[in-house]
Subunit: 169 residues, 2 copies
Protein backbone atom coordinates (compact mmCIF):
# COMPACT_ATOMS: atom_id res chain seq x y z
CA UNK A 1 0.00 0.00 0.00
CA UNK A 2 1.09 3.54 -0.72
CA UNK A 3 -0.62 6.93 -0.96
CA UNK A 4 -1.69 8.27 -4.32
CA UNK A 5 -0.63 11.79 -5.25
CA UNK A 6 -4.30 12.63 -5.79
CA UNK A 7 -5.25 11.43 -2.30
CA UNK A 8 -2.45 13.50 -0.77
CA UNK A 9 -3.60 16.68 -2.46
CA UNK A 10 -7.16 17.19 -3.75
CA UNK A 11 -9.05 15.86 -0.68
CA UNK A 12 -6.67 17.74 1.65
CA UNK A 13 -7.22 21.00 -0.21
CA UNK A 14 -10.97 20.40 -0.24
CA UNK A 15 -11.16 19.65 3.48
CA UNK A 16 -9.33 22.84 4.35
CA UNK A 17 -11.17 24.99 1.80
CA UNK A 18 -14.41 23.73 3.34
CA UNK A 19 -13.21 24.80 6.75
CA UNK A 20 -11.96 28.12 5.36
CA UNK A 21 -15.43 28.87 3.99
CA UNK A 22 -17.04 27.96 7.31
CA UNK A 23 -14.55 30.08 9.25
CA UNK A 24 -15.22 33.06 6.99
CA UNK A 25 -18.99 32.56 7.35
CA UNK A 26 -18.59 32.75 11.12
CA UNK A 27 -16.48 35.88 10.74
CA UNK A 28 -19.12 37.52 8.59
CA UNK A 29 -21.85 36.58 11.08
CA UNK A 30 -19.71 37.91 13.93
CA UNK A 31 -19.27 41.26 12.16
CA UNK A 32 -23.01 41.49 11.53
CA UNK A 33 -23.93 40.57 15.11
CA UNK A 34 -21.51 43.08 16.61
CA UNK A 35 -22.15 45.85 14.09
CA UNK A 36 -18.55 45.67 12.95
CA UNK A 37 -17.73 46.95 9.46
CA UNK A 38 -16.91 43.80 7.49
CA UNK A 39 -13.80 45.55 6.15
CA UNK A 40 -12.39 45.76 9.66
CA UNK A 41 -11.98 41.99 9.39
CA UNK A 42 -11.40 41.67 5.64
CA UNK A 43 -8.54 44.18 5.75
CA UNK A 44 -7.12 42.99 9.06
CA UNK A 45 -3.53 41.80 9.21
CA UNK A 46 -1.26 40.59 12.00
CA UNK A 47 1.52 43.04 11.21
CA UNK A 48 1.77 45.97 8.78
CA UNK A 49 3.96 44.12 6.26
CA UNK A 50 1.89 40.94 6.29
CA UNK A 51 -0.97 40.33 3.91
CA UNK A 52 -4.52 41.22 4.94
CA UNK A 53 -7.25 38.62 5.36
CA UNK A 54 -8.57 38.84 1.79
CA UNK A 55 -5.13 38.25 0.33
CA UNK A 56 -4.49 35.29 2.64
CA UNK A 57 -7.65 33.63 1.33
CA UNK A 58 -6.74 34.45 -2.26
CA UNK A 59 -3.28 32.93 -1.89
CA UNK A 60 -4.62 29.80 -0.19
CA UNK A 61 -6.98 29.30 -3.13
CA UNK A 62 -4.20 30.06 -5.59
CA UNK A 63 -1.98 27.37 -4.10
CA UNK A 64 -4.80 24.82 -4.19
CA UNK A 65 -5.54 25.58 -7.85
CA UNK A 66 -1.95 26.04 -8.93
CA UNK A 67 -0.63 22.94 -7.21
CA UNK A 68 -3.35 20.75 -8.66
CA UNK A 69 -2.86 22.19 -12.13
CA UNK A 70 0.92 21.83 -12.01
CA UNK A 71 0.76 18.24 -10.85
CA UNK A 72 -1.68 17.40 -13.65
CA UNK A 73 0.37 19.34 -16.16
CA UNK A 74 -2.42 21.71 -17.14
CA UNK A 75 -2.51 25.48 -17.17
CA UNK A 76 -3.23 27.06 -13.79
CA UNK A 77 -6.01 29.62 -14.13
CA UNK A 78 -4.89 33.19 -13.71
CA UNK A 79 -6.25 34.73 -10.52
CA UNK A 80 -7.90 38.11 -10.88
CA UNK A 81 -7.73 38.92 -7.18
CA UNK A 82 -10.76 41.18 -7.33
CA UNK A 83 -12.42 39.88 -4.18
CA UNK A 84 -13.61 42.61 -1.83
CA UNK A 85 -16.36 41.12 0.30
CA UNK A 86 -17.09 37.97 2.29
CA UNK A 87 -19.47 36.94 -0.50
CA UNK A 88 -16.64 37.35 -3.02
CA UNK A 89 -14.39 35.13 -0.91
CA UNK A 90 -17.09 32.47 -0.63
CA UNK A 91 -17.48 32.54 -4.40
CA UNK A 92 -13.71 32.26 -4.81
CA UNK A 93 -13.61 29.25 -2.50
CA UNK A 94 -16.57 27.62 -4.26
CA UNK A 95 -14.90 28.19 -7.62
CA UNK A 96 -11.67 26.72 -6.32
CA UNK A 97 -13.45 23.62 -5.03
CA UNK A 98 -15.20 23.27 -8.40
CA UNK A 99 -11.83 23.54 -10.13
CA UNK A 100 -10.42 20.80 -7.89
CA UNK A 101 -13.50 18.62 -8.44
CA UNK A 102 -12.87 18.70 -12.18
CA UNK A 103 -9.65 16.68 -11.78
CA UNK A 104 -9.89 12.94 -11.99
CA UNK A 105 -7.51 10.88 -9.89
CA UNK A 106 -5.92 9.57 -13.09
CA UNK A 107 -4.86 13.10 -14.08
CA UNK A 108 -2.77 13.48 -10.93
CA UNK A 109 -1.84 9.95 -9.90
CA UNK A 110 1.34 8.79 -11.56
CA UNK A 111 2.75 12.32 -11.78
CA UNK A 112 5.01 11.87 -8.74
CA UNK A 113 8.12 12.12 -10.94
CA UNK A 114 6.91 14.89 -13.23
CA UNK A 115 9.39 17.77 -13.24
CA UNK A 116 7.88 20.95 -11.85
CA UNK A 117 9.96 24.11 -12.16
CA UNK A 118 9.06 27.22 -10.20
CA UNK A 119 10.25 30.66 -11.39
CA UNK A 120 11.95 29.09 -14.44
CA UNK A 121 14.94 30.97 -15.83
CA UNK A 122 15.27 33.21 -12.78
CA UNK A 123 17.95 33.16 -10.09
CA UNK A 124 15.29 31.73 -7.78
CA UNK A 125 14.47 28.84 -10.10
CA UNK A 126 13.55 25.74 -8.13
CA UNK A 127 13.13 22.24 -9.54
CA UNK A 128 10.86 19.67 -7.98
CA UNK A 129 9.30 16.34 -8.74
CA UNK A 130 5.51 16.18 -8.47
CA UNK A 131 5.93 14.52 -5.09
CA UNK A 132 8.52 16.89 -3.63
CA UNK A 133 6.57 19.85 -4.98
CA UNK A 134 3.41 18.80 -3.17
CA UNK A 135 4.95 17.65 0.10
CA UNK A 136 7.77 20.13 0.63
CA UNK A 137 6.32 23.19 -1.06
CA UNK A 138 2.63 23.35 -1.95
CA UNK A 139 1.15 21.83 1.21
CA UNK A 140 3.28 23.93 3.62
CA UNK A 141 2.38 27.07 1.65
CA UNK A 142 -1.31 26.20 1.49
CA UNK A 143 -1.57 25.43 5.21
CA UNK A 144 0.30 28.63 6.02
CA UNK A 145 -2.36 30.82 4.43
CA UNK A 146 -5.32 28.84 5.76
CA UNK A 147 -3.92 29.00 9.28
CA UNK A 148 -3.01 32.68 9.00
CA UNK A 149 -6.57 33.47 7.94
CA UNK A 150 -7.79 31.72 11.08
CA UNK A 151 -5.15 33.49 13.20
CA UNK A 152 -6.19 36.93 11.92
CA UNK A 153 -9.82 36.25 12.77
CA UNK A 154 -9.07 34.80 16.19
CA UNK A 155 -6.84 37.77 16.94
CA UNK A 156 -9.77 40.00 16.08
CA UNK A 157 -12.10 38.25 18.49
CA UNK A 158 -14.09 36.03 16.16
CA UNK A 159 -15.18 33.01 18.19
CA UNK A 160 -13.57 30.07 16.45
CA UNK A 161 -12.07 26.86 17.68
CA UNK A 162 -9.68 24.26 16.35
CA UNK A 163 -12.67 22.29 15.15
CA UNK A 164 -13.55 25.12 12.77
CA UNK A 165 -10.03 25.08 11.39
CA UNK A 166 -9.96 21.32 10.94
CA UNK A 167 -13.15 21.11 8.90
CA UNK A 168 -14.82 17.79 8.07
CA UNK A 169 -12.38 14.93 8.35
Amino acid sequence: MTISLYAASIPVFKQMLGSLGAVLAKAEAHAAAKNIDANALLQARLFPDMFALIRQVQIACEFARGASARMAGVEAPKAEDKEQTFADLQALIAGTVAFLDAFTASQIDGQEDREIVLRPGTPKEKRFTGQSYLLSYALPQFFFHVTTTYAILRHNGVELGKRDYMGAY
Copy 2:
Protein backbone atom coordinates in the same frame (compact mmCIF):
# COMPACT_ATOMS: atom_id res chain seq x y z
CA MET B 1 4.48 5.57 -8.80
CA THR B 2 2.86 6.50 -5.54
CA ILE B 3 3.95 8.27 -2.36
CA SER B 4 5.09 6.27 0.62
CA LEU B 5 3.53 7.03 3.99
CA TYR B 6 7.02 7.65 5.35
CA ALA B 7 7.80 10.20 2.62
CA ALA B 8 4.55 12.02 3.30
CA SER B 9 5.28 12.35 7.00
CA ILE B 10 8.80 12.16 8.45
CA PRO B 11 10.58 14.45 5.93
CA VAL B 12 7.69 16.93 6.08
CA PHE B 13 7.82 17.07 9.87
CA LYS B 14 11.61 17.41 9.77
CA GLN B 15 11.56 20.23 7.21
CA MET B 16 9.12 22.24 9.28
CA LEU B 17 10.79 21.46 12.62
CA GLY B 18 14.02 22.73 11.08
CA SER B 19 12.30 25.95 10.10
CA LEU B 20 10.64 26.18 13.51
CA GLY B 21 14.05 26.02 15.20
CA ALA B 22 15.45 28.67 12.87
CA VAL B 23 12.43 30.92 13.43
CA LEU B 24 12.79 30.60 17.21
CA ALA B 25 16.53 31.34 16.96
CA LYS B 26 15.70 34.57 15.12
CA ALA B 27 13.13 35.41 17.77
CA GLU B 28 15.65 34.88 20.55
CA ALA B 29 18.24 37.02 18.73
CA HIS B 30 15.60 39.70 18.16
CA ALA B 31 14.76 39.81 21.87
CA ALA B 32 18.45 40.05 22.79
CA ALA B 33 19.15 42.79 20.24
CA LYS B 34 16.17 44.88 21.35
CA ASN B 35 16.58 44.23 25.06
CA ILE B 36 13.20 42.54 25.14
CA ASP B 37 12.51 40.06 27.94
CA ALA B 38 12.47 36.67 26.21
CA ASN B 39 9.28 35.85 28.08
CA ALA B 40 7.49 38.68 26.29
CA LEU B 41 7.78 36.50 23.19
CA LEU B 42 7.65 33.06 24.81
CA GLN B 43 4.40 33.90 26.60
CA ALA B 44 2.86 35.85 23.72
CA ARG B 45 -0.45 34.76 22.28
CA LEU B 46 -2.74 36.12 19.57
CA PHE B 47 -5.82 36.17 21.79
CA PRO B 48 -6.34 35.51 25.49
CA ASP B 49 -7.91 32.07 25.00
CA MET B 50 -5.30 30.88 22.50
CA PHE B 51 -2.14 29.06 23.51
CA ALA B 52 1.06 31.02 24.08
CA LEU B 53 4.15 30.56 21.94
CA ILE B 54 5.77 27.87 24.12
CA ARG B 55 2.65 25.73 24.03
CA GLN B 56 2.32 26.11 20.25
CA VAL B 57 5.84 24.73 19.83
CA GLN B 58 5.18 21.93 22.31
CA ILE B 59 2.03 20.87 20.47
CA ALA B 60 3.72 21.00 17.05
CA CYS B 61 6.42 18.66 18.40
CA GLU B 62 3.81 16.48 20.04
CA PHE B 63 1.95 16.00 16.74
CA ALA B 64 5.18 15.15 14.91
CA ARG B 65 6.14 12.57 17.53
CA GLY B 66 2.65 11.24 18.13
CA ALA B 67 1.74 10.92 14.46
CA SER B 68 4.94 9.07 13.63
CA ALA B 69 4.56 6.76 16.59
CA ARG B 70 0.90 6.03 15.86
CA MET B 71 1.59 5.24 12.21
CA ALA B 72 4.40 2.90 13.19
CA GLY B 73 2.32 1.33 15.94
CA VAL B 74 4.71 2.18 18.74
CA GLU B 75 4.13 4.05 21.98
CA ALA B 76 4.20 7.83 21.64
CA PRO B 77 6.53 9.31 24.27
CA LYS B 78 4.75 11.24 26.98
CA ALA B 79 5.47 14.97 26.76
CA GLU B 80 6.53 16.64 29.98
CA ASP B 81 5.84 20.15 28.74
CA LYS B 82 8.42 21.69 31.06
CA GLU B 83 9.98 24.01 28.49
CA GLN B 84 10.40 27.57 29.72
CA THR B 85 13.15 29.14 27.61
CA PHE B 86 14.21 29.39 23.98
CA ALA B 87 17.00 26.93 24.78
CA ASP B 88 14.43 24.50 26.17
CA LEU B 89 12.41 24.78 22.96
CA GLN B 90 15.48 24.17 20.81
CA ALA B 91 16.25 21.07 22.87
CA LEU B 92 12.65 19.92 22.47
CA ILE B 93 12.85 20.36 18.70
CA ALA B 94 16.21 18.57 18.53
CA GLY B 95 14.82 15.71 20.59
CA THR B 96 11.77 15.52 18.34
CA VAL B 97 13.94 15.38 15.21
CA ALA B 98 16.07 12.65 16.84
CA PHE B 99 12.88 10.73 17.62
CA LEU B 100 11.78 11.01 13.98
CA ASP B 101 15.21 10.01 12.73
CA ALA B 102 14.98 6.77 14.67
CA PHE B 103 12.14 5.53 12.44
CA THR B 104 13.08 3.53 9.39
CA ALA B 105 10.90 3.88 6.30
CA SER B 106 9.91 0.23 6.68
CA GLN B 107 8.34 0.94 10.08
CA ILE B 108 5.90 3.42 8.57
CA ASP B 109 5.52 2.41 4.95
CA GLY B 110 2.78 -0.12 4.50
CA GLN B 111 0.79 1.19 7.47
CA GLU B 112 -1.66 3.12 5.27
CA ASP B 113 -4.52 0.83 6.33
CA ARG B 114 -3.59 0.49 9.99
CA GLU B 115 -6.52 1.44 12.19
CA ILE B 116 -5.76 4.46 14.33
CA VAL B 117 -8.32 5.39 16.96
CA LEU B 118 -8.22 8.77 18.68
CA ARG B 119 -9.86 9.25 22.09
CA PRO B 120 -10.97 5.57 22.16
CA GLY B 121 -14.06 4.80 24.18
CA THR B 122 -15.09 8.43 24.48
CA PRO B 123 -18.00 10.21 22.78
CA LYS B 124 -15.37 11.94 20.62
CA GLU B 125 -13.80 8.68 19.44
CA LYS B 126 -12.55 8.99 15.89
CA ARG B 127 -11.35 6.13 13.70
CA PHE B 128 -8.83 6.59 10.92
CA THR B 129 -6.64 4.57 8.65
CA GLY B 130 -2.93 5.41 8.74
CA GLN B 131 -3.39 7.36 5.54
CA SER B 132 -6.50 9.32 6.55
CA TYR B 133 -4.99 10.00 9.96
CA LEU B 134 -1.88 11.57 8.45
CA LEU B 135 -3.51 13.50 5.63
CA SER B 136 -6.76 14.68 7.18
CA TYR B 137 -5.73 15.02 10.79
CA ALA B 138 -2.05 15.00 11.76
CA LEU B 139 -0.64 17.21 8.98
CA PRO B 140 -3.34 19.91 9.30
CA GLN B 141 -2.82 19.95 13.07
CA PHE B 142 0.96 20.06 12.81
CA PHE B 143 0.97 22.87 10.25
CA PHE B 144 -1.51 24.81 12.37
CA HIS B 145 0.85 25.02 15.32
CA VAL B 146 3.98 25.69 13.25
CA THR B 147 2.22 28.51 11.42
CA THR B 148 0.69 29.94 14.58
CA THR B 149 4.15 30.07 16.18
CA TYR B 150 5.35 32.08 13.19
CA ALA B 151 2.23 34.30 13.32
CA ILE B 152 2.74 35.11 17.00
CA LEU B 153 6.34 36.15 16.36
CA ARG B 154 5.52 38.20 13.27
CA HIS B 155 2.73 39.90 15.19
CA ASN B 156 5.30 40.82 17.84
CA GLY B 157 7.63 42.40 15.34
CA VAL B 158 10.22 39.67 14.84
CA GLU B 159 11.63 40.09 11.33
CA LEU B 160 10.75 36.87 9.59
CA GLY B 161 9.73 36.04 6.06
CA LYS B 162 7.98 33.20 4.32
CA ARG B 163 11.40 31.74 3.55
CA ASP B 164 12.00 31.27 7.28
CA TYR B 165 8.68 29.45 7.61
CA MET B 166 9.33 27.19 4.62
CA GLY B 167 12.70 25.95 5.82
CA ALA B 168 15.01 23.88 3.63
CA TYR B 169 13.10 22.27 0.78
